[in-house]
């Protein structure tokens, strides 16, 4: 009985393997397993090789690792490309019609499990895309799970379709399940240990979590131009606009997007944009506008491999310094970077409160790995208390009848002045991209300029009280101290576990709040560390640079990855050992 199974299914795009992955994860999550789904696909619509990886375990884990227990190949390239990665005695499922694979084709011993996928589909009058459903049944049997857990998922997945569709899918899955039971009755090597039933788990990607977090945060308006990897944010809003009373607009370009969102926010509703680096690049002028006008805005930036179009369907953490310094002129901003879908939900909801509290832009940095992997998050996480706090919004009735209200009053300790919104009686003001006085009228007087710039910059100080120290995972006195941010957390934590098994102690100083930078806490935490290693998914070590800028501390050792693939914990372990 196994404590962790990693299952891969590969085929051409259009073979329906994406949904196979999430159905698999959902089926097991419902009965108490912890699951995770990652995907790899080229920036092409069809053709090429798409791969879904699902990890299932009765125990909690944080990332994928290099093991492969079961490989399901819907076309030959899948085996050619992945045969070197297989565990010893891994199971290989394929359609013998595609190719008659031999044990000698593989570098290590494997169990070959030819299953006539197409034949099974044809027998039940299914279409070729339905082979994925058959493989789900096959897999259930191979890991020793009960067929019923798949059946309920199929029912839910196709619930908007007609009954015959549901029935035929169930029949297909069952035929795969039965085929294994009948032809490979002794193949129990990959049976999973039983999991204890837990509270309901959500299977969702971080873009969906951003959407949910935004809804929780009271978002009413989103303007998002399509771009990988944030297209699921669009789908979330487009699909739920009517139900949730949200306006989602597809703008003509990203410039329009951020300006629409700023208009909506200025008018009084919580609003957001989302994009990847290239689309965000086009919003940089608008960001600066939000800064001077003090209009709250939440920006979800899903990073991918750059520069330019780069590798649009692959992951990277390349935009940390860019978002911190983006925009002409100087103005406050907040940069958050969730480590998984659970945090994406939480930080997005918080981002709206922060944006309103400080009347300034707040970033939620995700990346392709976060945004398109499916994470398993307990229901209770979403039910945590959250209160919408709109910050300093005036009540229409409090506005002085002598019309003396000043939108940008200077005598505010935290730099945040109470806002009116257009249409309020006696609340007139000018939201001005030019430097302005307390009312919003233009000014070029040296004294007024400095006063208004100082007011805005005061927010930096005010924010300090909200800036959490980075989270420390593991033993404070460990030999190795990793530093990381955002999505690199999972592999580092799993690597720490592996190191422990090798007799090494490690801890992690992890950042999800990147800016303003918690300099004092970091200086304290790192100055006593024995061996500090920076782990980032980029080529230059941007967090390390940030740490040095704010603390003077130089981190000599870096484990950097920038090939578009998320870290494997093993790579981090190797990195630690190599640089000894």
């Amino acid at each position: 009985m196994r404590d962790s199974i990693i299952w891969k299914i590969g085929g051409e795009a259009g073979f329906g393997i994406m949904s196979a992955g999430t159905m698999m994860a959902r089926a097991f999550a419902r009965v108490g397993y912890h699951t995770m789904v990652t995907n790899e696909y080229p920036s092409l619509i069809r053709g090429g090789h798409n791969l879904i990886t699902v990890r299932i375990s009765p125990k909690y884990f944080e990332s994928m690792n290099r093991e492969v227990h079961i490989l399901v190949a819907l076309h030959n390239p899948c085996i050619e490309l992945h045969k070197d990665e297989l565990n010893e005695n891994a199971l290989v499922v394929y359609d013998p019609k595609d190719h008659e694979w031999q044990a000698s084709d593989f570098p290590k011993p494997v169990h070959l499990l030819p299953v006539p996928l197409m034949e099974l589909v044809n027998t039940l009058n299914g279409s070729p895309v339905m082979r994925n459903t058959v493989t789900l049944g096959v897999t259930l049997a191979l890991v020793g799970a009960d067929f019923s857990i798949l059946e309920s998922i199929i029912r839910d997945q196709f619930k908007k379709k007609k009954q015959p569709v549901i029935d035929s899918n169930i029949a297909l899955a069952k035929s795969g399940y039965d085929y294994v039971k009948k032809h490979f009755p002794d193949e129990t090597s990959m049976y999973l240990s039983k999991a204890e039933k837990k509270e309901p788990q959500l299977i969702l990607n971080a873009s969906e979590a951003v959407g949910l977090g935004a809804y929780r945060g009271g978002v009413k308006f989103a303007a998002i131009y399509p771009m990988t990897p944030i297209n699921s944010v669009i789908s979330f809003f487009a699909d739920h606009a009517k139900q949730l009373k949200i306006v989602y607009k597809q703008p003509e370009d990203e410039i329009s997007g951020i300006n629409m969102a700023l208009g909506a926010s200025f008018a009084g509703v919580r609003s957001m944009v989302a994009s990847s680096g290239g689309g965000f690049a086009l919003m940089v002028e608008g960001l600066s506008l939000a800064g001077i006008m003090e209009v709250p805005i939440v920006i979800n930036l899903g990073m991918r491999v750059g520069p330019a179009t780069g590798m649009p369907t692959w992951t990277e953490q390349g935009e940390l310094q860019f978002v911190i310094h983006a925009g002409h002129g100087e103005f406050p901003r907040i940069v958050l970077a969730p480590s998984d879908a659970a945090e994406a939900f939480e930080l997005t909801a918080n981002a709206f409160n922060l944006a309103d509290r400080y009347q300034t832009p707040v970033f939620v940095l995700t990346d392709k790995y976060l945004a398109e992997s499916h994470w398993c998050v307990p229901m209770s996480h979403f039910k945590k208390e959250y209160t919408v706090e709109r910050g300093k919004m005036v009540n229409e009735s409090d506005l002085p009848a002598d019309r003396s209200y000043k939108r940008y009053r200077l005598d505010v300790d935290d730099g945040v002045s109470p806002r009116s919104i257009p249409g309020m009686k006696n609340g007139v003001f000018f939201s001005n991209s030019y430097e302005h006085n307390e009312k919003g009228y233009v000014t070029e007087l040296a004294s007024e300029r400095v006063a208004m710039a100082n007011k805005r910059l005061k927010k930096f100080n005010a924010m300090k009280k909200d800036v959490p120290a980075p989270h420390v995972y593991g033993d404070k006195n460990a030999d190795i101290t990793f530093v990381s941010w955002g999505s690199s957390r999972g592999p580092v934590i799993d690597a720490m576990e592996m190191l422990r098994a090798k007799g090494r102690t490690a801890n992690l100083v992890h950042f999800t709040w990147l800016y303003p930078f918690p300099e004092d806490e970091v200086a304290k935490l790192l100055s006593t560390a024995k061996r500090v290693i920076d782990v980032e998914q980029n080529a230059s070590g941007q967090l390390a640079a940030l740490i040095r800028e704010h603390t003077g501390l130089k981190i000599g050792e870096k484990i950097l990855k920038y090939d578009g693939r998320p870290f494997y914990p093993e790579e981090i372990v190797e990195g630690v050992e190599k640089s000894l």
């Binding site: 999550a29 309901p200 809804y215 607009k249 700023l262 909506a264 200025f266 609003s271 000018f430 001005n432």
Partner: protein, 286 residues
């Protein structure tokens, strides 16, 4: 108390060059707002960056003076957040058709209930006189010392082609005519474009008040009926000894806001944050 245009008086005095066409447009806009019953607290003007946009400093009504070229996205965002708020855009030919050309196209396509006043002076005034997208061939400016060579953009033709539902042209020297066009534009439910022939006394020595006065004629004087796209296009292409002003085209079709399922009732700014659907949405992911 009856509304009058003095409610819009602000502390600043205009800094436009004496004789600038923007004065006439400004006067007309204030009167048009009054005619529509819109006072200082009741509406929003979104300004572009250019001489035209400087108007916000002497206009006491909710204002948004954003980035060069980005009036229309801002106005649409506002309108979607609060579709009960009257929104007028004050933009220039550079702002709206140069830097902001894409937004003009796509706003017309969506038909938000917004009025655009396009200050059409053929130059980039504020940056001291380069050619704007409406500059006519041969027009000498700082950026075209040998005269402009590109075909000028025709704002009316473009507006009609892209789907605007109220398309008019006024002349800054004809305040009464402008008031009528602007007031009707604000009243119109949909994307209304009022292109205004605006003499720039400093950087456009060709298209002066005089020059326009000799050429403009009123469409209504010719019993023109603005209900036909092809006819409107034909008139829009007329430019030379005779230049038509007035309403070229009008059509009623649902606005951008009408289409939004979330906007059937109160404006979004009044819709309380609700979590009644939160559980059911979470359930989709289990």
């Amino acid at each position: 108390m009856t509304l009058n245009s003095s409610v819009f008086a602000a502390n600043h005095l205009p800094t436009w060059c004496p004789g600038c066409g923007d004065y006439g447009i400004w006067t007309a806009l204030k009167e048009a707002l009054v005619k529509q019953g819109i006072g200082s607290d009741d509406g929003l003007v979104v300004y572009g960056v250019g001489c035209h946009g400087n108007m916000y400093n002497w206009m006491n009504i909710y204002g948004f003076a954003g980035l060069h070229g980005r009036t229309l996205p801002v106005a649409q965002g506002v309108k979607l957040a609060n579709h009960k708020l009257p929104v007028v855009v004050v933009s220039g030919d550079g702002d709206c058709l140069g830097e902001g050309g894409n937004h003009f196209l796509h706003a017309a396509k969506r038909n938000p209930d917004i009025t655009v006043i396009l200050h059409d002076n053929q130059v980039y005034g504020l940056t001291t006189g380069q050619a704007s997208p409406t500059a006519k061939i041969g027009f000498v400016t700082k950026s075209t010392p040998d005269g402009a060579v590109d075909a000028p953009i025709n704002p009316l033709l473009l507006a009609i082609a892209a789907g605007a539902t109220y398309v008019a042209r006024g002349f800054a020297g004809d305040t009464p005519g402008l008031i009528k066009l602007m007031s009707d534009a604000v009243e119109h439910k949909g994307f209304a474009v009022v292109d205004v022939l605006q003499p720039c006394v400093t950087f456009n020595k060709v298209n002066t008040y005089q020059w326009y006065r000799q050429r403009v004629y009123r469409l209504e004087d010719e019993k023109y009926v603005p209900d036909n796209k092809m006819k409107a296009i034909e008139r829009a292409m007329e430019w030379g000894d005779r230049i038509p002003i007035g309403l070229f085209y009008k059509e009623i079709r649902p606005t951008s806001e009408d289409h939004e399922p979330a906007l059937t009732g109160d404006p979004l700014i009044r819709v309380p944050v609700a979590s009644e659907h939160f559980d059911s949405v979470l359930q989709e992911f289990v």
